[in-house]
């Protein structure tokens, strides 16, 4: 009898026995979704007008943190650039070579032209290389802190080198 009770107590597999709830060692999915829980959190805290606890103003910045936000900023920037390009393509009357010649005729000078190209090349380069780093993480590799820093420095060095090479030699 005790043997049976122990078996039942240690392994309850059905929700239909709620009195054994305290013995559930293996979790059953909750009644609410993650999204619902998050909305509840924000609704409650906004209603109570609670101030946000300081985070980026007090936490010590680290290379991985800065690389992460740079990845996001370059991503949003590139996406915005592509959307702006697509919008202009739909709205402006002339065709692409016409506008290129127009910009060229403004005689901006090689230094500024190079800088503008760098402004496009570096975000593309950085976002692509750091994206590869992200894909490695997604496969489960490279999570130790030394590896994160090492791969981070490699990404930074390579993106600077490749963007300068793209502007200088192409």
């Amino acid at each position: 009898m005790a043997f049976l009770l122990r078996t039942l107590a240690r392994q309850s597999t059905c929700l239909s026995r709620p009195q054994l709830g305290v013995f559930y060692r293996h979790a059953v999915p909750m009644g609410t979704t993650a999204k619902e829980e998050m909305n509840k959190f924000w609704a409650k805290n906004n209603k109570l007008n609670r101030p946000m606890s300081p985070h980026i103003t007090v936490y010590q910045w680290s290379v991985p943190m800065m690389m992460s936000i740079t990845h996001r900023v370059t991503g949003v920037g590139l996406s915005g650039g592509i959307s702006a390009f697509a919008l202009l393509a739909l709205v402006l009357p002339g065709n692409y070579p016409y506008y290129l010649d127009l910009i060229h005729s403004l005689s901006i000078g090689p230094a500024l032209l190079g800088l503008a190209k760098l402004g496009i090349a570096f975000p593309v380069s950085y976002h692509t290389l750091n994206g590869i780093r992200h894909l490695f993480w997604d496969s489960g590799k490279g999570f130790t802190i030394p590896e994160v820093y090492r791969s981070g420095y490699v990404v930074i060095a390579l993106s600077i080198l490749t963007s300068i090479a793209a502007v200088a030699y192409m």
Partner: protein
Amino acid sequence: MAAIVRISSVCHRGVKLLFYRSALLARPLVGQQKDQDLSYLLTARIHGSSSLCAGSVSKAASLHWTGERVVSVLLLAMGPAAYLFPGPAIDYSLAAALTLHGHWGIGQVLTDYVHGEPKIKMANAGLFLLSTVTFAGLCYFNYNDVGICKAVALLWSK
């Protein structure tokens, strides 16, 4: 005994596990090690969503995650492909992959920073509109103008 019979009538899948467990408990010394190994197996079976009483969990989120990675890898491959084989096929593939990657990426940014049901809905609607216009614009450019590959080549030749 009666208790086990009752459980079996409600969750027939669980009973086999119960009997397995009780066989283990009858041999405590050997059972210890196997206990730990098997508890993982038992956990895996219990979490299976197919016949569990608690109901199933949607796979939408994990499929979305996988889709994001697949598009990222495809976009990565399109870089060298566009350099080596420029043309309309790559132009349209690039338009699709860039738009989708950007759409999902900004979607994640909105999820992180926008809170409250109505604001989330509005932001996502705006994003959907932006991505649609972006894709339309890129396709228009590919069809009526030089195309993405040629555009990059011309820009860089300045």
